[in-house]
């Protein structure tokens, strides 16, 4: 099995998607963010220059353009880039794209992908660090995808693009250099299928996006303490795979949820509520959430480090549910 970097897997996905489907257009293009690897995207831009557009700084305009293009036979992937900028195009994403299929009684499909980078990135401060996926989960009509590994980003980007629904592809810059196994002839990963990233028996840690990697590191440390952590990655919020989560919850009875959205009404809050409703009798301890604190993201490095789902908080939560 070959091992490649996350950004390479993402680039492979874009290349294969563009080659396979001439209706896929890219609107805006920082799919590799400000990563030093972003030059690989230039090769793609050259090859498909007629299907890649660089719009002005007009998120409202180009999110709407992508939505309209999706209604008319294209499958655009829009790069919103920094997740916070979705707020500039919010009316088109949340009020038009999300509603179109339902509101029309099923007449109009909107196969658009809105791609963004969420979360704490090191000095992003309050306006470049948003994780809007919790708010978007509360806005019906949108699929939401969060990859956490090279194999996932490739397989999920393909499925997101193939989906006939408006899809939010929530990526994270801290994942770009991560290395992982990606089969030569991989298949798309269906939406709505969670993944057990690490098998364990003592506690179920549910994590999303970059937090999956952080939890795997914490799990490795806890081996010395003879604590065997199972890490479950939902991979998609909508559609949501409850069955895989509950299989793990039934096995361990102890749950910690680690996610980068802010605590109040965050992703962890919703998952916790669903587990309690579905399998309260399976729980041996209250569920613990480890989320970003409910404060605007501060700039200074020690402050930014402090507010996120830190390793020590994850550790402490795991130990707490085991008591």
């Amino acid at each position: 099995m070959r091992e490649i970097a996350y950004y390479e897997a993402k680039f492979e996905a874009l290349n294969e998607i563009m080659a396979a489907d001439p209706t896929v257009h890219l609107i805006n293009g920082t799919f590799l963010s400000l990563s030093p690897h972003r030059h690989v995207y230039q090769a793609l831009a050259k090859k498909y220059s007629d299907r890649i557009m660089s719009p002005p700084i007009s998120e409202l305009g180009f999110c709407g353009l992508a939505t309209g293009a999706a209604m008319a036979g294209l499958r655009p992937i829009v790069d919103i880039s920094t997740g916070s900028f979705i707020f500039e195009g919010w009316p088109q994403v949340a009020n038009e794209a999300a509603n179109a299929f339902s509101m029309s009684g099923g007449q109009t499909r909107v196969p658009v992908v809105f791609h963004l980078f969420h979360g704490l990135r090191g000095g992003g401060a309050a306006q470049h660090s948003a994780s809007p996926q919790a708010m978007l989960w509360n806005n019906p009509g949108l699929e939401i995808v969060l990859p956490s590994s090279p194999r996932d980003v490739k397989g999920l980007l393909k499925s997101a693009t193939a989906s006939d629904n408006p899809t939010i592809f929530v990526d994270h810059v801290q994942l770009l250099d991560l290395k992982g196994d990606v089969p030569e002839n991989d298949t798309p990963i269906p939406l709505g299928v969670a993944d057990v990233k690490r098998k364990g028996s003592d506690v179920t840690v549910i994590a999303t996006s970059y937090m999956v990697q952080r939890c795997l590191e914490v799990a490795e440390k806890l081996v010395n303490d003879r604590i065997n952590v199972e890490v479950v990655d939902p991979r998609t919020l909508v559609p949501f795979d409850m069955a895989t989560l509950m299989t793990s919850v039934e096995k361990t009875g102890r749950v910690v949820i680690v996610d980068e959205t802010h605590q109040s009404c965050g992703v962890a809050a919703e998952i916790a509520a669903r587990i309690v409703e579905t399998g309260f009798d399976k729980l041996k301890a209250p569920i613990r959430r480890v989320a970003t604190l409910d404060v605007p993201v501060p700039y200074s490095p020690p402050l930014e480090d402090y507010i996120g789902p830190r390793k020590d908080r994850i550790m402490e939560a795991i130990l707490a549910v085991l008591r």
Partner: protein, 339 residues
């Protein structure tokens, strides 16, 4: 003046304008009797813009419209039965009752999505235009909106994108505001839009723009045909501002019909209530049109009355159909929101 089209087409325009007028008027008592609720917006007073303008399009072109969509849908040939059913929230409505007056969608006629957010459709129109250009299918997009939409940031963003990427889209702004046709030269500045004339806005983005009298069906027809031809020829976007005088019945929160239309008003408004008589005498595009038809000897008063009576019967049927249509089953609410 009348459009330069064959007589059958002139009579067809006449019929469509009557369909719009009588359909819209029929909604008011339905609303007032509580048969449907919520806000709704009527196209009365703008028929001579919508009908000739939309006749310039091909069957596979895209159209976007707003909360004031009934007239556009009917001008394009939507079935009054299914439109009325949708407004009443019934299962036989175009959107199966899920959209209502604000959001009626008829994909077979090119209406893919109807937004009630002012300017919500303007960026979308650049999208369908972009897709048509990319897919090389020759379709153009017509984006229909009112004067208020230009106040929203989405409008200049979309104008810029359309001009920058030379998108095949016609921006048709129906200015029925006080500062449209109703504005006397030198009158007070609009309190909500500093640009005047409105065509300055698209021109600032190098989108060719012109104004047309929205009450003049012939002027509208020729202006729109020429604009459409330029767009189809690959010249990029065009902007047309059509000016009308706001129908007085639309001034209040909910529409009020102080005078039911019938063709004889074209020649005698003595029976019209004082408050609205002047509008019907000189600003009603439908009455202007039928007067022109008769003056040009393209139809007799009787022929016109016959067309109108047939339309009235059809509208009555549509209302009956809609009222008899069942409501959707409650569980439909949780269905069909993902493809």
């Amino acid at each position: 003046m009348l459009p330069q089209v064959p007589r059958e087409t002139l009579l067809d325009f006449c019929r469509r304008m009557f369909v719009i007028r009588h359909f819209e008027e029929s909604l008011v008592p339905l609303h007032d009797k509580g048969v449907f609720g919520g806000h709704y917006h009527l196209y009365i007073g703008q028929e001579a813009t919508g009908v000739p303008a939309l006749s310039c399009l091909r069957a596979d072109d895209y159209l976007f419209t707003t909360h004031r969509n009934h007239g556009h849908l009917l001008a394009r040939g939507a079935d009054p039965k299914r439109l009325c059913a949708e407004i009443l929230g019934r299962a036989d409505g175009y959107n199966k009752g899920k959209g209502g007056s604000f959001h009626t969608v008829v994909t077979s006629l090119g209406f893919l999505h109807t937004s009630a957010v002012v300017a919500g459709i303007i960026p979308l129109a650049t999208g369908t235009a972009y897709a048509a250009k990319a897919l090389k299918n020759g379709r153009i997009t017509v984006c229909l909106f009112g004067d208020g939409a230009l106040e929203e940031g989405a409008a200049p963003e979309a104008l810029n994108l359309a001009s920058l990427w030379k998108l095949p889209v016609l921006f048709l702004c129906e200015n029925n505001g006080k500062y449209g046709a109703g504005r006397a030269a030198g009158a007070a500045q609009s309190t909500t839009m500093a640009a005047f004339p409105l065509t300055d806005l698209p021109k600032a983005y190098k989108v060719p723009a012109q104004q047309v009298d929205g009450l003049d069906s012939g002027a509208v027809h020729i202006t729109i045909s020429q604009a459409v031809e330029k767009i189809r020829g690959g010249e990029g976007p065009q902007f047309v501002e059509a000016q009308t005088v706001r129908w007085p019945g639309g001034e209040t929160n909910w529409p009020v019909v102080l005078q039911n239309t019938n063709s004889s008003l074209a020649w005698d408004v003595s029976g019209v209530p004082d408050k609205v008589r002047e509008w019907y005498r000189s600003c009603d595009p439908l009455l202007i049109y039928i007067r022109e038809l008769v003056d040009a000897k393209q139809a007799t008063k009787q022929e016109i009355a016959d067309i109108e009576n047939k339309v009235k019967a059809d509208i009555a049927d549509a209302v009956e159909f809609a009222v008899a249509s069942p409501y959707p089953k409650p569980e439909v609410a949780a269905q069909e929101y993902f493809a």
